[in-house]
């Protein structure tokens, strides 16, 4: 895991016993996770009695470094050995690594979900209703005589459901079904590496 210089410095001061004592370390780690996971920005996240005697600039640096480190670790799905080797390099003691890792383990899933929520996603199909119709004639042509399907896909996007309506001929429908099967097959293939 590559870390920038400022993050390394912040973590080093976080590892420093003379800056953060044991309870302060614990509280800062908790505060870092909380500040990332809370649903609203909390400017007072660092207003803790444990931090009163710590230089605020150092405190903010360490907080920044800790949040960055947490996010990078979750982004790379780091396991215990990676995290501990990384923190050991930054002079963390085994005890502090353990504290950090247990907190990381506790919040990893949530953080992963938080990272996964960045981006966009196509709507998800929940249901489908269809109707087979027969097109006998229209204004231009007297005899069309073609069946066609009108399909309504009930899709769900970001919690709200919406309907996608379209009509298609038999060939188009076959094409669509074939493509869907292809997609399912390739997903299955991807799962059998």
């Amino acid at each position: 895991m590559e870390l920038s210089e400022s993050v390394q410095r912040g973590l080093q001061s976080l590892a420093d016993l003379s800056v953060f004592d044991q309870s302060g370390f614990q509280v800062l780690v908790d505060a870092s996770f909380r500040s990332l996971l809370s649903s609203h920005a909390d400017p007072g996240v660092l207003d803790q009695p444990e931090f009163k005697r710590i230089d605020q600039i150092l405190l903010k640096q360490s907080h920044t470094a800790a949040t960055t480190f947490i996010l990078e670790a979750v982004k790379q799905n780091a396991d215990k050995s990676t995290i501990s080797s990384c923190l050991e390099e930054l002079t963390f003691s085994a005890e502090r690594i353990e504290i950090f890792y247990s907190a990381y383990q506790k919040h990893k899933k949530e953080l992963g979900r938080l990272l996964a929520s960045i981006g966009r996603r196509a709507p998800q199909i929940n249901d489908v209703s269809w109707r087979l119709q027969y097109h006998t004639k229209n204004g231009q042509v007297d005899k069309v005589n073609e069946p066609f399907y009108s399909i309504s896909l009930n899709a769900e996007n970001e919690g709200s459901s919406e309907d996608i309506n379209f009509t298609c001929t038999v060939e188009q429908l076959q094409d669509l079904v074939g493509k869907l099967k292809d997609a399912a097959k390739s997903v299955e293939k991807a799962s059998q590496m």
Partner: protein
Amino acid sequence: MEEVDKILIHALKQVGTEVSEEIDSVRQFSSELIVEAVVRCIRVIDPGLGSTLPTSLPPGMSARFRVGMSLAQACQDIGYKGEIGYQTFLYSNEPEIRSLLMCLVEKLPRESAETSDQPTGKSVVLQRAIAAAIKAQLAVPWLPTNCRLPLHGETQSPAALHNFHVQPLSLPNCSKGPGKKQLKELNDYQRDILPPVTAQPSHHASVVASILEQHTAELSAAQEWDNEWNSQGLLSRLTPQEYQSRKLTRLRKRIEEQLRSAALPSPESAFGGPRSTSDLGELLQAFRASAPSDHILTKGTHFTHTQKFTFTQESAAVTNSIPSRLQSEGDSQQRQQEELASLQQQLQQLCSDVNQLTADMKHMSVTNTQVLDELKQREMGNSEKEEKMQVKKKTIDLLPDADNNLLKLQALVEASAKRVVNLASQWEKHRAPLIDEHRRLKEICSNRDLESSRKLSEIKSLHDKIRVSTEEARKKEEMYKQLVTELENLPQDVSRSAYTQRILEIVSNIKKQKEEITKILSDTKELQKEINSLTGKLDRTFAVTDELIFKDAKKDESVRKSYKYLAALHENCNQLIQTIEDTGTILREIRDLEEQIETENGNKTVANLERILDDYKAIRQENSALAAKVREG
């Protein structure tokens, strides 16, 4: 054979055959098991061939026969050299099955083993992880929306998404950095007012994106700097700070130049709204094209003046036209418009005044500096002239006593000439060592230069080496990690050491056997040799005695008798040897036959015969049933 069987059973289990725990030798294999094992092996070796074969025997006898035939055919196609037919599967005997299974297991592809030997890349591991995740997600059944539990929330009910939106973060700088004195106000701001990073973005949703982006930007900047420093910075022989400051000044100079070249139309752009965009475009264009700046700069203020003047007129006309258009509107509006127009006019006026005044001021200041320069020049001329005047005054003072003064002057000149010569000689004296020293120092300097460049190249190579070795170390570490994970993932039931030990045991056994065989071989060879020498000796002695006795036999009757006896004895002995040899061959034959009997016994011939009889009966029954059906039909 036990070892072989164990290895075979293990291999078959790996292929996917379900061999129950109690079975630990090929002897215990049933026909069904044999068929399953063979079919699975064939499927792995040649999927096209194996896919048509069933893994279990059908109940019907004729169908079984057909399956056996097709299996035998498949085995021959794969390359089994031994004798094989339907009977191999249906009426199995141990050695045949063993040799068949050994052949099949040997033919099993070893790719899987080879690939696991090679360290898989990081991407492969990642892809595997992705595949595992997809598999896990596919395993979860789909549920309609209202049945979903929070358990399925991750994959099935999409949470609200937001875009990757980044906002700049302000980070508290490091106050520990040496030589970086920060402003006290900045420090105070960072200490007391700056909110923590997670509270800085206006949308809480963009916190994560912002932090990640900030970190990546820092990392890439550091990397870029590293690259630049290694490629160019080191060669410039400056300290990093010096290099940076030099680069900064260079950049500043360029920006200044560009700005200056673009600054000419700037008075207008500061002025009017409508043309500001085009002016910006011009500015940017000037920025892009590095136009020579000085020739625009010398164009003087007159040009700008006129431009400004025309422009003010234009804008005034524009502002005047607006109220005239709006006269049809209500009175108050009109008044307001008028007032606005007048105010705007006033503003224009004032602006133009201000501009005029600033231009005037500029002009004035320029003229002021010019005048000051002139003044300085005049003063210098003045002082020069004063000096000249003083010299002339002195000469005039000296004129009355001309001869005397001339002599004095000549003496003075001579003295000074002498002094000059003296000084020159002295200078020469001093100069030589100084020049020598200068040369010496120069040499040292060049030496140092050389050395420093050498060291520089050394440093560079060291840097490269460091980079290479760190990379290598990282790669090796990664590989190590991968291998560790792979080791963890590997099935633990296979005890490798036991295997190797067994193999070693087998090898040592084979070695022992080989030794014994060679011993026996040498023994037999020796025996053969002895026999040969003995027969030779016998032949020779016989020939000699035969000759001797034959000679005497002509003279003596009794000797003739003894000769007869000798011949008989020889014959009898020959016969004896023949019989002994015959018994030996017969014994060997007996042993062979006994072995054959044993193998035949091992083939379970009786049981197989019984089974064949049963199967024969079954086939007859089937046939009769079919015939009955045909008759009925």
